[in-house]
């Protein structure tokens, strides 16, 4: 007859296993949970020489900046939202179209080659991508030099604040549109071929296959990614924008994350910038959870239930 073992026995039995996991647990606690506590400085007038504990409490004073219409904050918020929605509108559909295009290629070899080329930019750092854009499209770059020599139309996209959104959007497309196809191609590759065969037997051409089989097959993935994107509307490419604030100017390029950096770490306004960061994090989490709920209401699987299914 087996006797249920006590907690203490289990702990003794598993102590070596737990020891293996200990470094990871400590790192997660130290670098994920301890900074969470550090957010108390959002409620304090943080003075570096006093430290976090000794700095005086100021209640919600730091959060006033969110509501009193500080022009720099309002500018950062509106830039963030504009950039987010421009990118959802212009960047989001491109990998879908590209995946359908690649999927329709008949030759497996050409498909592989195209994939290897288009995935590569994803692995480049933002510093590299920004450097490439400057040296290719800058005023003294490859294209404009060539255009000047051949009396062709010149493109001054870099350093023009009015074109800043166009610039960063095209950089995002260049870097990640190819990589974005991978998840759609994976979804397409799991489609039961009998569905395509039935369409073909019923006399449907390639457009019918696309409309009745391929697109419905990737719809859950499209919705899932859209949810994640909507949950992320307050976060836009921080490193990318940070690198290009010089030439573009703050008016056009300040977003919430760079605002926190410029105000907090450069400007020394620790309390208010921590407050902005905290509210941004909370709103972001609420957005993801809310978008997931909405997806469930529309009968899609969303993020969490799909995680359950795969277990």
């Amino acid at each position: 007859m087996l006797r249920p073992i006590s907690r203490w026995d289990r702990f003794k039995r598993d102590r070596f296993l737990l020891l293996l996991g200990l470094p990871g647990i400590i790192l997660v606690l130290l670098f994920q949970y301890v900074p969470l506590l550090g957010n108390v400085i959002a409620f304090k007038d943080y003075q570096p020489y006093l430290g976090i504990m000794e700095s005086p409490w100021v209640g919600l004073e730091n959060f006033a900046i969110l509501f009193n219409g500080d022009p720099a904050f309002v500018n950062a918020l509106s830039n963030t939202l504009i950039i987010s929605f421009v990118q959802i509108a212009f960047v989001f559909p491109i990998p879908i179209a590209l995946a359908l295009l690649m999927n329709s290629l008949l030759s497996e070899r050409i498909k592989r080659t195209v994939q290897s080329i288009l995935y590569l930019p994803h692995f480049m750092s933002w510093v590299i991508v920004v450097a490439l854009f400057q040296h290719m499209l800058g005023n003294a770059g490859l294209y404009n030099t060539w255009a000047r020599q051949h009396d062709f139309f010149q493109m001054n996209i870099i350093g023009d604040p009015d074109l800043f959104i166009a610039l960063i959007t095209s950089q995002v497309i260049w870097k990640d549109a190819g990589w974005g196809t991978i998840i759609f191609l994976a979804a397409i590759s799991r489609v039961d071929l009998e569905l395509f065969e039935s369409v073909a037997v019923d006399g449907g051409g390639r457009m019918r296959q696309l409309w009745h089989v391929t697109l419905p097959a990737i719809r859950p993935v499209i919705i899932l990614l859209l949810i994640l994107k909507l949950g992320d509307v307050l976060t836009v490419g921080f490193e990318q924008i940070f690198l290009q604030q010089g030439p573009a100017g703050l008016q056009a390029s300040e977003v919430l994350d760079t605002y926190v950096y410029n105000r907090g770490i450069v400007g020394g306004n620790w309390g208010t910038s921590a407050a902005v960061g905290l509210v941004k994090g909370l709103v972001g989490t609420i957005l993801v959870l809310g978008a997931n709920k909405v997806a469930h209401l529309f009968g899609e699987r969303g993020i969490y239930s799909s995680a359950k299914d795969s277990r």
């Binding site: 647990i25 994920q32 290897s116 080329i117 510093v127 400057q134 039961d192 073909a200 907090g264």
Partner: protein, 327 residues
């Protein structure tokens, strides 16, 4: 997946696309690829459509390749050709490694390259070790405390403490201007722990029990049984982390003050993005033009990624990557 039923089977293609060997009789065991070819053969795209697709994909590939080609070519070009082209060339007439000799003469770039290599090797090695150990300890059913620990890890996917508290923590720990500030904060990732745990869970419990009866320790079971069975996922996570550490840029902006500790990405920003003039002293030699030097630094930062890229790519097809992609 169920075998192919004869009533849904297609006739073999008849438009000259017939493959060699036995006619496609659609036996069970016909590969997915062959079935796709049959479907494509039965519903061929129009010539115009194929032309348009070809042009679009060719342009996409050209847009990606041309910048890389121009960068590499310019880094190898000589003064005369640079002057004639006005800055950048698409093909070097007299390729020379002059610029590379100049930047690797022991100055800023040499040091930064070594720093970046060190951080990448130590960081990706440590991170895959820590993640594998934690994932393993969470993957054995019924382990003491594994459920709360798993929740602890999962919960970190929902929030991010923010830049300011992270910075203050690093400062509190005394890690400002230390290489550890670039390595430690990004060692663990909830996503990777979950993915690796999922793979470890696939290991048949019978093998593990057998090893245990033979007296193997937990570490031994992990090293000799579980890890070899999950090689692919371990390799992918290690490679991804290596790329992430090599590319890491902003943490260095935040935490590294002294220029002699700069990783390559910061050097790249200063000299190639912000166009700060690069001083080199080549005794008794002509200093290569600025563009050539800049492009040479850029190429140096590209090389490691291009080296691991084929390895990474090997795993794309297996679908491992989908889950392992860092947000």
């Amino acid at each position: 997946m169920a075998g192919i039923r004869p009533d849904t089977a297609l006739k073999p293609p008849t438009n000259g696309r017939r493959r060699k060997g036995p006619p496609a009789k659609l036996l069970p065991g016909v590969s997915r690829q062959q079935r796709l070819q049959a479907i494509n053969g039965a519903t061929p795209p129009s010539l115009a459509l194929r032309g348009v697709k070809g042009i679009v994909l060719f342009l996409c590939c050209a847009v990606v390749i041309i910048p890389f080609l121009a960068v590499i070519s310019t880094s190898l070009a000589d003064q005369a050709q640079i002057n004639q082209a006005g800055g950048y060339v698409l093909w070097p007439d007299n390729p020379s490694f002059h610029a590379y000799e100049a930047i690797f003469r022991g100055g800023v770039v040499t040091r930064a390259t070594l720093v970046s290599i060190g951080i990448t090797v130590v960081g990706s090695g440590l991170s895959v070790t820590v993640v594998a150990l934690l994932a393993y300890s969470l993957s054995r059913p019924g382990t003491w405390g594994s459920k709360p620990i798993l929740l602890l890890v999962l919960f970190t996917m929902l929030f991010n403490a923010g830049m300011i508290p992270n910075y203050l923590l690093i400062r509190q720990l005394g890690l400002i201007d230390s290489y550890w500030a670039l390595i430690l904060p990004t060692l663990t990732s909830a996503f990777q722990i979950i993915i690796m745990r999922a793979f470890f869970l696939e290991t048949p419990q019978e093998i593990i029990d057998a090893a245990r009866i033979d007296g193997a320790s937990e570490l031994r079971i992990l090293l000799s049984i579980v890890l070899p069975l999950s090689k692919a996922v371990v390799a992918v996570i290690a490679l991804f982390n290596a790329v992430t550490y090599w590319n890491a840029f902003f943490n260095a902006v935040l935490y590294i003050n002294s220029t002699e500790k700069w990783p390559l990405q910061l050097v790249l920003r200063t000299y190639v993005v912000d166009n700060t003039a690069i001083g080199v002293d080549l005794p008794g030699d002509v200093v290569p033009p600025q563009q050539t030097l800049q492009m040479a630094i850029l190429v140096v930062s590209l090389i490691p990624i291009c080296l691991v890229y084929p390895l990474l790519q090997k795993h794309f097809a297996k679908g491992v990557v989908i889950g392992a992609v860092k947000g």
